[in-house]
């Protein structure tokens, strides 16, 4: 899986919702799906890294408008997992951890690298964002990222499906 070691850059300081233009061809970053009790989304990317980055934005969109968050602060993210599912849970969990401990809001993701590592899989990258005190509206809370109905689908691109506990 050489593609997974490649770098991708897809941070946007502005722009709306889950749709992103990629040099003319429009690609959906993520979709929020109906779920009775919790919240569910699908995130897309041409690579695993891009899909992970878009999953981060999908998660953020359940709590705040990530496109409005100014990229004032950079937070390194490094996490691992025994498989890609656990890697995804741990990666998205970082966003909740940074919110709770530093009131940090993710507005973008930069330089994600995913590669096989000691524990199975390893992820390195950066979150770009701002502190909550920057005057942002928080419209919802997410308690945790779950494995429930999680899917990692690979074809021409990568699709990730995640249910979060809200």
């Amino acid at each position: 899986m050489a593609g997974h070691a490649g770098r991708s850059r897809f941070f946007l300081a502005t722009g709306g919702g889950g749709v992103l233009g990629h040099g003319g061809d429009h690609m959906t970053r993520y979709e929020i799906l109906p779920h009775t009790g919790d919240a569910e989304f699908r995130a897309y990317g041409r690579t695993l890294e891009e899909a992970f980055g878009n999953a981060a934005l999908a998660l953020a969109s359940l709590m705040w408008d990530w496109a409005k968050v100014k990229p004032r602060i950079v937070r390194q993210v490094r996490t691992e997992g025994r498989d890609r599912e656990q890697l995804l849970v741990n990666f998205l969990g970082e966003i909740l951890f940074l919110l709770d401990t530093q009131s940090f809001l993710v507005g973008g993701v930069d330089g994600l690298r995913i590669a096989p590592g000691e524990a199975g899989w390893q992820l390195d990258g950066r979150f770009l964002g701002d502190r909550l005190s920057g005057g942002y509206e928080i419209h919802g809370g997410v308690k945790a990222v779950t494995y429930n109905d999680m899917r990692i689908e690979e074809g021409d691109g990568v699709a990730l499906q995640v249910v979060v506990d809200v």
């Binding site: 919240a39 951890f97 709770d100 009131s103 809370g141 779950t146 429930n148």
Partner: protein, 473 residues
């Protein structure tokens, strides 16, 4: 899925395949329509396949689809052959409800409702990413994880009578702070004494209707129009992190092969990992008890300041909605210790159980069931028969019917505020979008949920409470 009708309010999921026991759903036809349309029944069936499960995989009247176990799922496991599962407790460990009574009447509050709500909004931090007003050291946090509400009362937050009127006296003795990760501790430090967001709320209410006067009086609920305060919140990021940590640890230790849903991951109850999870879970339970204790204290302060009198704001009770506990139950004519998981369910012990506080032992424990935002909440009393029907458990709320996404499409927060205002209910919230997500139209009919609980014998109706003022995170 085929259901076998037992009565108008009880439906069996017959045992087949890998199921070790049958499932049992407590629901009217109306409530059943909700659970048949999502994965609730499949999830209850999955739980029935877990090792060491005893008697039945139960589904409470307010159940809806969760992850791993359904929300509103109750399952008990043998201590030798069975398991403990973080997904059977949920991420918000000891999400629960505390109810305060008062000597104030709705008329006493009159024009001071807005001032009370503003005062509480000021004193009780709510919403996402909002830290508490108390600076904590790691050492103090460890003490809180060990001692729960007891720590809070000793440090000036509340009265000793509160402890007696709290499930587990506000402290689970098996708590092991050393089993709580640094990350969980880090999330717990800034959040003690905060309400959080989502479905968490704080309500000033009045007693609207009393169904059982002697029992209501025993609970301190004397008459219609009496003011009460309900606090609904949990263990915040600390509890969420404990659940996430141990789901990963159990996956790494025992793998996920053969599980229909990774959220069902578990550990044999007698394993070292299960013991550590139980210790960490109890620590998170204690954090949540301390959290509600501190919030209740601030609410009393605000009332005393605004009303100019303390107003006899004693505690009715404080219950857990998400927890696993070792309890003694009758099984095949023998008394046996079992690990009872209640995920979105309330313990509903009847008269005589030693776990029920002495002050309530002759009538059964109070069961607190919050409605959705702006609707009625209920106080029930636990029953003896519930032990045989559901390991002494009943519903925990209204139960969602519609996704938050759909609710956002259909409702507007400002509109809900105006509708409530027309009914004389004040609303303060951190976010109007958050209000729309929690619109009462997105929830099941709580009246129907408690009716089924009452008729099935899971918990008897005592009183209905309606909101006067609502604060949402």
């Amino acid at each position: 899925m085929e259901l076998r009708k037992i009565s108008e309010i009880a439906w069996e999921i017959p045992k087949d395949g890998d199921m070790k026991v049958p499932g049992l759903v407590y629901a009217s036809r109306k409530l059943l329509t909700g659970v048949e349309n999502d994965k609730t029944l499949t999830q209850a069936r999955n739980v029935a396949c877990l090792p060491g499960i005893r008697r039945m995989s139960y589904v409470m009247p307010d159940a809806h689809q969760g992850y791993g176990f359904p929300i509103g799922g109750v399952a008990a496991f043998d201590l030798e052959e069975g398991i403990i599962s973080p997904g059977g407790v949920g991420y918000d460990i000891n999400c629960g409800v505390r109810l305060l009574r008062s000597d104030f009447t709705e008329k006493d509050l009159e024009d001071r409702r807005r001032a009370l709500l503003a005062g509480i909004f000021e004193e009780v931090p709510a919403g996402v990413g909002k830290g508490g007003v108390t600076k904590l050291s790691r050492n103090v946090l460890r003490d809180i994880l060990s001692r729960g509400a007891e720590w809070a009362v000793e440090n000036g937050y509340g009265e000793s009578g509160d402890l007696e009127r709290t499930e587990e006296r506000g402290r689970m003795g098996e708590a092991d702070p050393a089993a709580v990760s640094d990350r969980a501790m880090e999330r717990g430090v800034p959040q003690l004494g905060t309400l959080g967001a989502g479905n968490h709320f704080l309500e000033i209410q009045q007693v609207d209707k009393i169904y059982d006067r002697p029992v209501a009086a025993a609970f301190g609920l004397d008459a219609e129009g009496q003011v009460t305060v309900m606090i609904h919140c949990g263990s915040r990021g600390l509890g969420h992190q404990v659940a996430s940590d141990y789901i990963n640890l159990m996956e790494n230790a025992f793998g996920t092969a053969g599980l229909p849903d990774r959220e069902l991951v578990n550990a044999p109850f007698r394993s070292g990992l299960a013991r550590r999870y139980y210790g960490a879970m109890c620590a998170a339970v204690n954090y949540a008890f301390a959290n509600r204790q501190m919030i209740a204290h601030r609410v009393r302060d605000v009332f005393a300041k605004v009303m100019g009198a303390a107003g006899g704001m004693g505690q009715v009770y404080d219950v857990c909605h998400n927890v696993a506990k070792v309890e003694t139950h009758e099984l095949g004519g023998l008394r046996k210790d079992l690990c009872v998981h209640r995920k979105g369910a309330t313990r509903s012990f009847g008269p005589g159980r030693p776990e029920v506080p002495a002050v309530y032992r002759s009538v059964g424990q109070p069961v607190l069931i919050p409605g959705s935002m702006g609707t009625a909440s209920y106080v029930l009393a636990g029953t003896r028969e519930a032990e045989g029907l559901s390991f002494g458990s009943t519903a925990h709320g209204a139960g969602r019917l519609m996704s938050r996404h759909e609710a956002l499409r259909r409702f507007r927060g400002e509109q809900i505020r105006d509708d409530l205002a027309r009914r004389g209910v004040e609303l303060r919230a951190g976010s109007w979008k958050g209000v729309a997500e929690e619109a009462s139209g997105a929830y099941k009919d709580v009246d129907e949920v408690v009716r089924v609980s009452h008729e099935a014998g899971l918990g008897r109706l005592v009183a209905r409470l309606v909101p006067l003022a609502v604060m949402k995170g």
